[in-house]
């Protein structure tokens, strides 16, 4: 029973979502199920928050390795939650003038931007490894990357200005993006779409039991 009930529910909801895509009156059920998902997800946030606090409190209590980080996590949680819940008059973090907004703009926003900015350095280090010409494919990748990078900046067209219009670095970069890149990406997209259909059918039919650990 413990296994069958979730499988039957999954099959029912999955089939309803598919039917609703083609038969509009079923959209009422589709919308209902989507609302249920959001309600369950909203309640589940508390499970996550409780788990976060419990894991870190446990770490501090037991003085496990790196336990001071647990204090930082709990303090960070309280510092952002208390002003948001009790000292911002029910207003959103995007409303200027609230302490919630202050924390968002002066703490959360710069921290997020810092993490995002790391990407620039990681792109450089990953590119360095990926573009080493070790074999034919890597060499082609290197050549395509070279043309694309030069073609996207003014100097690319400047050093190929002696070539006829339409054959310069910028045009070559556009050609790579419009044809080989688009063709490859579409092939991947078609594969993904079919993979989603196949996976969804496996889940709906109850063949996919790995989520139950089988």
């Amino acid at each position: 029973m413990r296994r069958e009930v979730p499988l039957v529910l999954t099959a029912m909801v999955g089939l309803t979502m598919i039917i609703a895509h083609f038969i509009p009156p079923f959209n009422i059920l589709k919308d209902l199920f989507e609302d249920w998902f959001f309600i369950i997800a909203a309640f589940a946030i508390y499970l996550g928050v409780l788990n976060l606090i419990r894991v870190n409190a446990d770490k501090i209590y037991r003085k496990s390795r790196d336990w001071p980080f647990g204090i930082v996590v709990i303090l960070g949680f309280l510092v952002i939650t208390i002003p948001g819940l009790f000292f911002s008059g029910g207003r959103s973090f995007s409303d200027p003038g609230t302490s919630f907004y202050f924390l968002y703009i002066h703490v959360y926003y710069p921290l997020s931007a810092t993490m995002f900015a790391l990407l620039a350095f990681f792109v450089a280090s990953a590119s360095y490894r990926a573009f080493r010409a070790r074999n034919v494919e890597a060499t082609m990748l290197l050549a395509a990357a070279f043309i694309l990078m030069l073609g996207r900046v003014p100097i690319g067209d400047w050093i190929t200005a002696w070539l006829p219009e339409g054959y310069r670095m910028g045009n070559a970069a556009d050609w790579i993006m419009d044809f080989p890149q688009t063709a490859g990406q579409r092939a991947i997209m078609i594969g993904i779409a079919l993979g989603v259909v196949s996976s969804a059918l496996r889940v709906i039919l109850g063949l996919e039991r790995a989520m139950g650990g089988d």
């Binding site: 895509h21 928050v49 790995a210 989520m211 650990g213």
Partner: protein, 325 residues
């Protein structure tokens, strides 16, 4: 001309109310807020800096329940053919028919990655993406987790699953718990193996980066839906020498994973992974059914290209398949 206003009334002569607008050049407006079988009249008011001008009322129109969305007929037919092909191959796999499935290097390496973690006595960190359970990629990631967890239980390797969504945490816990029970090691499972970090994208990336640098895991699995954090995670895990097996169906993130990880499951391989790892004939049959879909798409693309080429060179006036489909 700055735009159009759409007016509606149930009386031809009066009572028109503004129900929406349209940009200059628009040729249609869809009213999705109607009562079935009630007759409505519409007027269009053109707005310009010099004033407004209204059209005559339209003929009465009414909405009714549409039992089938015929604009999706082609999609329906395609889905039906592909679904039938999948059913056919699943049933022929049940009869014991041998099906050829190409080797997927990334999945062949799963055993090695878990074995390596066991030998080194270091952790396996499994990340099922940053989206919730309504994403098919997350579902695929969680199904692969079931296989990895079973292997980890059999090898007695240390598994850790930090997640960014509460529902994913609950699902992953059930999956890992069942996998440990099925591997005959329920004693080795505890709830703390799967834990929640944060819903925030870069907060999650920062927490995982810290985890990678402090714990130096032997293997990192990145399986699911990722966005900009993909390369941040993959490069950090690479810097600590972890073997990485990534998989996503996000075309924009695939190049990052290919560049930074040891193995990458590209698009459909992510969805095929569970079937491939389980070796269950029924699941493998569903993979074979996808090939029929690929063949149809290939055929349509080839015919479409041929028609367009013939039209362009010989001016034959053959149909443009892009508009047919």
């Amino acid at each position: 001309m700055t735009g159009y206003e759409i007016l509606r009334s149930t009386n031809r002569e009066e009572g028109y109310e503004h129900i929406g607008g349209a940009a200059p050049g628009a040729t249609y407006f869809s009213d999705s807020n109607t009562e079935n079988k009630v007759k409505y009249f519409y007027r269009v008011r053109a707005i310009s800096p010099w004033g407004t001008s209204e059209s005559l009322p339209s003929n009465p129109v009414f909405s009714r329940v549409q039992w089938f969305d015929f604009s999706r007929l082609t999609l329906f037919a395609l889905a039906l053919i592909i679904a039938c092909a999948i059913f056919y191959f699943i049933s022929s796999a049940k009869t014991g028919k041998k099906l050829f499935i190409r080797k997927i290097a990334g999945l062949e390496a799963v055993d090695d990655a878990v074995g390596r973690a066991t030998e080194m006595g270091r952790k396996i960190i499994y990340i099922p993406g940053i989206m919730d359970m309504d994403s098919m990629q997350t579902i695929a990631g969680v199904t692969i987790l079931g296989r990895v967890a079973k292997l980890a239980a059999e090898y007695e390797a240390k598994l850790e699953v930090p997640v960014s969504k509460s529902l994913v945490m609950v699902t992953c816990r059930e999956t890992v718990k069942e996998a440990y029970i099925n591997a005959g090691r329920p004693d080795a499972y505890n709830d703390n193996m799967v834990y929640y970090l944060t819903d925030d994208q870069f907060g999650y990336a920062a927490a995982l980066d810290g985890l990678f640098l402090r714990d130096k895991p032997a293997a990192v699995f990145l399986q699911g839906q990722f966005y900009a954090e993909s390369l941040i995670l993959a490069e950090t895990a690479n810097s600590v020498g972890a073997i990485q097996i990534a998989g996503t169906a996000m075309p924009s993130q695939l190049p990052f994973f290919v560049a930074a990880c040891d193995y990458t499951l590209i698009g459909e391989e992510l969805f095929a992974a569970s079937a491939y790892l389980s070796k269950d004939p029924k699941l493998l049959g569903s993979l074979k059914g996808q090939d029929v879909g690929k063949f149809i798409f290939l055929l349509v693309i080839l015919v479409g290209v041929l028609f367009l080429t013939l039209n362009s060179v010989l001016g034959l006036g053959l149909p443009d398949l892009a508009t047919v489909f």
